[in-house]
């Protein structure tokens, strides 16, 4: 026997044996009773994984990952998909929610599949080539945002974190040393047991705050760094980012270094502020006086948020503006075609 698993609902136990068979028990009236025993993965099964009762995945010496669906009508598993890999598949693990599948190969490759929401099939999204020797174990944490890999061949345990932007798992950390059995909990605590003795080591995956240039290098607990100056810790991004909530005309931050600005404004990296985009302001000369004001073209002056006609320069104007592009005229004159013209209707 190589591996025994229990489904998330606690009602089914599946056991994979070295001869390639899978034996299944169901919980009936508080006792597990034999449901099915079938040859699943000849000539040798190395691993199996199941989270719901509906799907079973096996792997083995024949360099395949095999998918099995449970048919309630016949109370049995039937083969639905085979994936051929380029070496023996020593371990497979489904994430708790069955969205991801990871496999560790004898040649050091780690393959990650994501389940298609439309077809239900598992599509390969990533091949991790980090390890140089036999992979003996692969494990997800409970929320499937971390994978740990037991690199038995190159004596390394590595940790990978899911990055939605890259639609894959990115390298987070590694520990060198003889490794065989590994596990990870939901709070990023790891246990690693070697092959030659029973002394297992417990680890906590912590942020290395000295590597965040916007942190002062101080850890606040296991997974937060203290940030400098205008930066705030972003638990979503796992890094110090600009505090955009206190920045005028900013709406959010999509980068650690700048804030996204409201429409009509842009990020000024020299002053760490949102500046008005003067080139888009009508009648502007294009440059900024400050964050909110623009230089205006000839005959115009800045007024609150736009360039207004400078009525003091307009002949026969009283000096005041009717609006941005019109002046008030002295008695006997009316505004028309950008000048004060004599009001001929009263002449």
């Amino acid at each position: 026997m190589w591996k025994v698993v229990i489904t998330n609902d606690g009602k089914r136990i599946l056991c994979g044996s070295g001869d390639g068979s899978v034996t299944v028990w169901n919980l009936v009236n508080g006792q597990f009773v034999l449901l099915q025993s079938f040859m699943a993965h000849p000539p040798a099964l190395y691993s199996l994984t199941a989270k719901s009762a509906g799907i079973l995945i096996t792997s083995g010496r024949d360099a395949t990952v095999r998918f099995w669906a449970y048919q309630p009508l016949t109370s049995s598993y039937v083969s639905i998909q085979n994936i051929t890999c380029n070496d023996e598949v020593n371990d497979v693990e489904l994430s708790y929610d069955e969205k991801f599948l990871v496999a560790g190969l004898n040649n050091g490759l780690v393959l990650v599949w994501k389940r298609s929401t439309t077809t239900g099939n598992f599509d390969l999204i990533q091949t991790i080539t980090y390890h140089t020797g036999r992979i003996i174990g692969v494990r997800f944490n409970a929320i499937a945002d971390k994978i740990i890999v037991s690199g038995n061949g190159d004596s390394k345990v590595s940790v990978w974190s899911y990055d939605p932007a890259m639609t894959g798992f990115v390298f987070r950390s590694v520990k060198a040393g003889e490794v065989f059995a590994v596990a990870i909990d939901s709070k990023n605590h790891l246990i690693s047991c070697p092959y030659s003795n029973p002394l297992c080591t417990l680890y906590s995956l912590k942020l290395n705050c000295t590597e965040d240039p916007r942190s002062n290098g101080t850890s606040l607990g296991d997974y937060e760094c203290a940030c400098t100056g205008a930066y705030l810790w972003s638990s979503t991004n796992g890094e110090c980012r600009l505090n955009c909530s206190n920045t005028q005309f900013a709406v959010s931050t999509s980068s650690p270094y700048y804030c996204d600005c409201i429409a009509g404004f842009y990020w000024n990296a020299s002053f760490y502020l949102c500046y008005r985009n003067c080139s888009a302001v009508p009648s502007s000369a294009g440059g900024n006086i400050n964050a909110t004001s623009c230089y205006c073209g000839s005959g115009y002056k800045w007024n609150t948020d736009s360039c207004w006609l400078d009525c003091a320069l307009v002949p026969d104007s009283s000096g005041g503006n009717a609006n941005a592009s019109a002046c008030q005229c002295i008695k006997g004159f009316v505004w028309g075609a950008e000048v004060c013209r004599r009001d001929c209707s009263i002449v």
Binding site: I6, G10, F180, P194, L202, E211
Partner: protein, 132 residues
Amino acid sequence: MLRNLILFASILVVVFSGISKDYLSNTGTLDSTSKTSIDSVNFNENASCVARAFDFNIEIHCKNANGSYELHRNFTTLYKMYYTTFSADSQLLIAGGSNPQRVPASIVYVFGYSNTTLGFELQQNFTFDKST
């Protein structure tokens, strides 16, 4: 199968190996009186306990009041134990093993958490004739 081979070969091999922002801080060890290596290790759902399968043993270590793991149960078996894991709700612990000198050759143990003894107690075991 050929289609899958082609699909596999055609997929771009990518290594995501950015800057490490994490490090693994050593927080303790879990030893055993046995000299044998550990075949399988797993946390329960809230990591309050760790189960290990090795040699002819199933060990359960649970956290004490200080937050350190200490040996909670040690079940000795007649079968070489290969794998152990908790159920998702941590109420069950299962373990599997084999012994080719016994008939049937394989066994699965099911331990249930007892609110009376505040520990895992053997609930059921079933043997079957499968080799390793």
